[in-house]
Structures are given as structure tokens and as C-alpha cells.
């Protein structure tokens, strides 16, 4: 199954509720035809409002415009926009069977019954639910419900697919499986997709581009690699993964901190703080190292361990280690961080 796709453009879209509750600052965003854009941020950051503006469930404040291709759809209600929507809580019709849910959009379009049945069969196959077509919604598991919701949204061949935290209601293991399935499906469909989530792993895996939002603004937009390796701000860096801070001062190619010193690019000159991620540091014997700390605790996670270190900086620092490491609390260890892996954010 392959869908036609169109580009989307928001121009200066803001949203204010009541007299002074502005949940979205004026925002412009272009989404290419067939691109999957993930809106990522904590709750209340404006990501769902942005999605609802695209859907046509909300109107932007005067001045804002929404374009689907060259068509200005700002004034069109959702039922005329030909979008497919998937909601966090599935939002299935409880009084209809699985087949009737998936065929609903086709029935509204007055597609003949025979053709409709055939199309529903195709969609059931696409989401691996062929044997569940005649069940009632209440007989399905959470993961199955979400796949019905996806099939229902795809049935009328939408121009744009909009997903609002579709995997949030599912448990961790299932979320991971569905994330992989969803990735495959979206890549094959080629439909323009906007996906809202607060889960950074989902954003990384699914997004061609990730738009990080906070406080009603876009903080940074870019490919998953760009935003993870070159975060524009400490806030973005923290939201995308764990972040350690080292307080100290730059002198002669090195950054001096409580636990010693480490090689550092000159960009850090004048900064009181540099950062790194747990997986970018490696542990070595204390004797060889220019930077040392004391093991405070070791968390065994199975596939890896997290080692918490004191004495490197004023605050505790977390470093990843192979899960078979035999470190004990109280032990002295050396830490090496390749200079190119340091996150140096000048704009703070």
C-alpha cells in the first residue's frame, strides 16, 4: 500500500485559549511531502496543540495560516481535510466491530459494500489482524486496539497521517515492538506524517526529523543525529538523554575540575560548565588517569551497568559500563572522555 503525500506548511500559527492563556507562540514549520516529523516535548509544551492545528480540530489565532500543498486549509474543518488521526486512547467506536471500525471512513464516503469489504480485508492484513475482524473492540488487547485505530485512519487514504502519542498507553515491551512495526509501516506508506510523543526513543527511531518543543515554542528541529549530538541548549540535551555536568574552568587546552583535568576544545574557554553523556565516557584504572572519581554505587541493568561517581565534580556523575564489570562502591576509578564527545553549549 502506497499513499499520495503532500507537504504541509504552518505560518505564524499561535493558539490562545480564553483571554491570556497562550499555549502556542507564533510558530512556523514546513513538513516535506512524505516526511515523518516527530513533535517531541514534555506535556504542556504545545506539541498536541500544533498537531490539532494541522488536523483542523483547532483554529489558529488570527494571522496564522495552515497550508496543505498550495491549498490554504486554515478555515476548513477536520472533516474536509482528508487527514487520518490516531489517538493515545485509541478512540475506537465501542459499538462497532473491528471491521466496521476500519470501514467507517469508507462508509461515510459511500463506498459500495463489496469494495469496502475488500479494502477492509487488505487493511486487516496490513496490521496483522485478519483473524480478529469480527471481534468486538472490548475483546482486543491494547496493542491490537491501536493497530485497529491505525488501520481505520489509513482506510480512506488520507493525505496526511497524524498520530497523538499512539504508543503511550501501552507497556514498555509492547511499545518497543510496535515502535519497530510502525517505523516499517510509515517508511513503506510514504505518507506525510506528524507524530507527537514525549518519549525520546520513539522520536529517534521514527522521525526523519525531530522537532523539540517547550513552553509553546520550537526549541530545535533537525534529524535525530543532529539534535542528539549537537543539542542547541542544555534543556534539549537533557530531554534527549542523560546528561552529566562538570563544573570547572578552561586553561591551556584542558578543563580543570575537582577530580582532575581533561582535554577540551578551546570553545569551552570562559565557560564554567561542560557536559557529557553517560555512554561517551569510559572507565580505566585510576593510576593511569588524569581525571579520577570514587564509585558511589553501581546499578546493574542487565545489558549494561550504570556507575555513579563522586569526586569528579560537585555533583554526582553517571557513567555507563559493561554489565559484567565488577566495580565496587568506594573504589577509585579513572575516567576518560574523548574531547570530541564533550557537549559544550556556549549559548547559556
Amino acid at each position: 500500500m502506497k499513499l499520495n503525500s503532500i507537504p504541509i506548511r504552518l505560518e505564524g500559527c499561535a493558539k490562545t485559549y480564553g483571554s491570556n492563556a497562550r499555549v502556542l507562540q507564533p510558530t512556523s514549520l514546513s513538513i516535506g511531502a512524505g516526511e515523518t516529523v516527530v513533535l517531541l516535548g514534555p506535556s504542556g509544551c504545545g506539541k498536541t496543540t500544533t498537531l490539532r492545528l494541522i488536523a483542523g480540530l483547532e483554529r489558529p489565532d488570527p494571522g496564522g495560516r495552515v497550508y496543505f500543498g498550495d491549498e490554504d486549509v486554515t478555515a476548513k474543518p477536520i472533516e474536509e481535510r482528508r487527514v487520518g488521526m490516531v489517538f493515545q486512547n485509541y478512540a475506537l467506536f465501542p459499538n462497532f466491530s473491528v471491521r466496521d471500525n476500519i470501514g467507517y471512513g469508507l462508509k461515510i464516503k459511500k463506498m459500495p459494500a463489496r469494495e469496502r469489504a475488500q479494502r477492509v480485508d487488505e487493511l486487516l492484513e496490513l496490521v496483522h489482524l485478519t483473524e480478529h475482524g469480527d471481534k468486538q473492540i472490548s475483546q482486543l488487547s491494547g496493542g491490537q486496539k491501536q493497530r485497529v485505530a491505525l488501520a481505520r485512519a489509513l482506510a480512506p487514504e488520507p493525505r496526511v497521517l497524524l498520530l497523538d502519542e499512539p504508543l503511550t498507553a501501552l507497556d514498555a515491551k509492547l511499545r518497543e515492538t510496535l515502535r519497530t512495526d510502525m517505523d516499517l509501516l510509515l517508511k513503506n506508506l510514504g505518507v506525510t506524517t506528524v507524530y507527537v510523543t514525549h518519549d525520546q526513543a520513539e522520536a529517534m527511531v521514527l522521525g526523519d526529523r525531530v522537532v523539540v518543543m517547550s513552553n509553546g515554542r520550537i526549541e530545535q528541529a533537525g534529524t535525530p543525529h543532529e539534535i542528539y549530538f549537537n543539542p542547541g541548549s542544555r534543556h534539549v540535551a537533557q530531554f534527549l538523554g542523560s546528561l552529566n555536568s562538570l563544573r570547572g574552568a578552561y586553561r591551556d587546552g584542558e578543563f580543570h575540575v575537582q577530580g582532575g583535568r581533561l582535554a577540551c576544545p578551546e570553545r569551552a574557554a570562559g565557560l564554567a560548565e561542560i557536559h557529557f553523556r553517560p555512554e561517551d565516557a569510559s572507565l580505566l584504572p585510576a593510576a593511569d588517569a588524569a581525571l579520577r572519581g570514587t564509585v558511589a554505587s553501581v546499578q546493574f541493568l542487565g545489558d549494561r551497568s550504570r556507575v555513579y561517581l563522586d569526586g569528579l565534580s560537585e555533583t554526582r556523575v553517571c557513567v555507563e559500563a559493561p554489565s559484567r564489570s565488577t566495580l565496587q562502591p568506594g573504589e577509585q576509578v579513572g575516567v576518560h572522555i574523548p574531547p570530541e564527545r564533550l557537549l559544550i553549549m556556549e549559548g547559556e
Binding site: 480540530l57 472533516e79 487520518g84
Partner: protein, 253 residues
């Protein structure tokens, strides 16, 4: 604790059922089948039963239709004075049936407001208080507030995203109403509709105030019992009324 409470509960249940048992026993009047056969072939009683059930069904249906419209409107729209309007809407709940009957007379009686207006406009005095129409109006008046409140409570707890999903699939207002809103409201409408029916079928004060010759069943029972001292018939009619109402209530569950 179960051992302790169960006898208490049995006693309680027995007390509960004794009045009804007494009623049934009296209604038998020695010839159980004969009594009921007599009543169910007497056109006067059958007519009364039929009229009462019909009136109650009409009241229930009209109440549900008007309440769904008003309740959904009030839930979906915010406007200044909405809280006041809802409070005023529930005013009829505060008046007993007798007073409602009284109001119907004031409005549609011989000296009523509607009569005066129609006289002035069309030269014909519209009077319908002392009939089934008056009763219908009165019952509607005190049934609507309850069901409006039920609809509002149910509509507020609806999951909005289901309606939004339907709209994203191209459904207009009517399709959303038919496929999403009404099915979701159905359980509470059925439950409160049954209560509305039970209340209407047993209402007495309004009928009695409007006229002594309105032929609804509670009136017939009262007349048989008090004026004609016809205990057996009164009891049998009570049992029939009870059975019909209970059947509707159980059906709604």
C-alpha cells in the same frame, strides 16, 4: 460477620415483601384467576391501564428527545449565565406534583394564560388543563430537569476523541450524533428513561389536582379504594400497575 448479618437481612427482606404479599393476597379475593380475568376484560380498567401506559411512554419519549437536545447544547457551549440557566432549569424539581398541577391550571386552565392569549389572538379560548394534554404537559415539566441533568453528566464524561476520530474520517454533525454520541449516551438514557416512566405511571398529585375524572390508573385505584371501598379491585389494579412498572425497570437494567 456474614452469619450475623444474613438473618438480619432476611428479616429485612421479609418485611419488604410482606406488604406486597398482603396486596397480592387481597387482590386474589378468594378467586385469584377470576379477579384478574374480570379486570382484564373490563373495558373501563383495560382502557385506564392502556391510557396510563401510553401517556407515560409519550412523556418518556418526549422528555428524552427534549433533554438530549438541551443537555448536549448546554454541555458543548460555554456562555455567560450558563450556571444560572442550569439552576433555573432544575427549578421544577423543587415543586411537588400538586403544585405542578396547580401551575398547569394557571397556564392552560379556564382562567389560564394560554387561554387569554389565544382568545386575544385568534378569538378562541384554548383550554386543555383538565385533560390528558394537561397531564402530559405537567409530567413533561417535572421530568425534563432530571434527564437534562443526567444527559449533561453523561455528556461531560464522554471521551471527546471518539467524536474527533469520527470527524477526521469525514463524518458530519449528524453522523457523529448517530454513530458516536447517542450510542454513548444510550445506557444512561435507558436507565433514566425507565425511572421517568415509573414516575409518570405512578404520579397522582398532578392528576388529582387537575381533575377527578382523568382516567389514569393511580386515580382509578384511589377511587376504587377510597370512594367505592372496592378493596379487591384496587389491590388487583395495584398489582398490575406494579408488574408493568417493574417489568420496564428490569428491562432497562
Amino acid at each position: 460477620r456474614l452469619a450475623l448479618l444474613l438473618p438480619a437481612l432476611s428479616l429485612f427482606a421479609a418485611f419488604w415483601l410482606i406488604p406486597i404479599a398482603v396486596l397480592v393476597r387481597i387482590s386474589a379475593g378468594g378467586h385469584f384467576l377470576a379477579t384478574y380475568a374480570d379486570i382484564l376484560t373490563d373495558a373501563r380498567y383495560v382502557n385506564s391501564l392502556w391510557q396510563t401506559v401510553l401517556l407515560s411512554l409519550l412523556v418518556t419519549a418526549a422528555t428524552i428527545v427534549l433533554s438530549v437536545i438541551a443537555g448536549l447544547f448546554l454541555t458543548e457551549h460555554e456562555f455567560p449565565g450558563k450556571r444560572l440557566l442550569v439552576s433555573l432549569l432544575t427549578l421544577p424539581l423543587a415543586f411537588p406534583g400538586v403544585v405542578v398541577g396547580f401551575m398547569v391550571i394557571m397556564l392552560a386552565g379556564r382562567q389560564g394564560l394560554i387561554g387569554s392569549i389565544s382568545q386575544a389572538l385568534f378569538g378562541h379560548k384554548l383550554v386543555f388543563a383538565y385533560s390528558m394534554s394537561g397531564l402530559f404537559l405537567g409530567y413533561l415539566y417535572f421530568s425534563i430537569p432530571k434527564i437534562v441533568l443526567t444527559v449533561m453528566a453523561a455528556a461531560q464524561s464522554l471521551d471527546k476523541s471518539v467524536a474527533e476520530a469520527a470527524r477526521s474520517l469525514g463524518a458530519g454533525s449528524w453522523a457523529v450524533m448517530r454513530d458516536v454520541t447517542l450510542p454513548a449516551l444510550a445506557p444512561s438514557l435507558i436507565a433514566s428513561g425507565a425511572i421517568c416512566f415509573a414516575t409518570s405511571i405512578g404520579a397522582f398529585g398532578t392528576a388529582f389536582t387537575l381533575a377527578t375524572d382523568i382516567n389514569v390508573l393511580p386515580m382509578t385505584i384511589y377511587t376504587e379504594f377510597t370512594l367505592n371501598a372496592n378493596l379487591v379491585t384496587a389491590a388487583a389494579l395495584s398489582v398490575i400497575l406494579g408488574v408493568v412498572t417493574w417489568a420496564i425497570l428490569m428491562l432497562a437494567r
